[in-house]
Symmetry: C2
Subunit: 115 residues, 2 copies
DNA sequence: CTAATCTACAACCGAATGGTTGTAGATCTA
DNA sequence: TAGATCTACAACCATTCGGTTGTAGATTAG
């Protein structure tokens, strides 16, 4: 249930899961790990089943985990996966920084030689 | 064509656009801003039309911009939007850090009083 | 001028999404 | 024990998605 997928597919699942405001809100609300699926469902104008499905999507992506407590399922967000997503974006930003650095080098090496 | 949407919808578009490995790769390759749509298309085993659509999705999300040069469209990734996405994740991570800080406080206030 | 290249866009297709309702099993509470 | 609550899951539906092919307009190259 955790993470054993080709990294590309894992990234697909994570970003796809985050591409819905209800799901992002569930992640936010589940930091404490003390809310059940039905407790979460009360917060949104959609059916409990719909919320169940959202939680399932988040769980498959590793953004959330569920643990049973009696008849209810407590939902807890997983910071490792959020961090993983941020790292993927950091990587893209790094490409840009590298490029800007290379431009700076060019500027430096041309200094005092303009025109 | 840039950014004037309710922040939630903008986030939806950004994460949805990033939820596809071909599109993430296009963003990576477009840092230099020197590749056309058809040049990009040569890199993937899908039709030019499909790549065109991927670029359109990225453009709507603000992750990429296009500029015409003669008959071709050059694609350039936009670091601001990547940064925006990272900030959204930072926000989620911050919730966790706050929570851990609060737990630390509890531990501190209980020090020397265990059991 | 003609041919090749690049983009644009419509139309189509199968699969996935996000939602619903309905039924049923477990667990808690009075 | 009986009723309420929580979860699970199947079935269905409309829409979106990622891909295709085909046609056509601009621009460049020979």
């Amino acid at each position: 249930m955790v993470v054993d997928l080709p990294t590309g597919e894992q990234a697909d699942l994570i970003f796809r899961a985050l591409a819905d405001s209800t799901r992002r809100d569930i992640v936010r609300r589940s930091t404490g790990g003390d809310l059940s699926v039905s407790a979460l469902a009360r917060e949104y104008p959609i059916s409990t089943t719909a919320v169940q499905k959202h939680v399932a999507v988040l769980e498959r992506a590793g953004l959330v985990e569920r643990t049973r407590r009696g008849r209810e399922q407590l939902v807890q967000s997983r910071i490792e996966t959020i961090t993983r997503a941020r790292e993927l974006l950091d990587e893209l930003e790094a490409l840009w920084r590298d490029r800007l650095d290379r431009i700076d080098e060019l500027v430096d090496s041309n200094e005092g030689a303009e025109q």
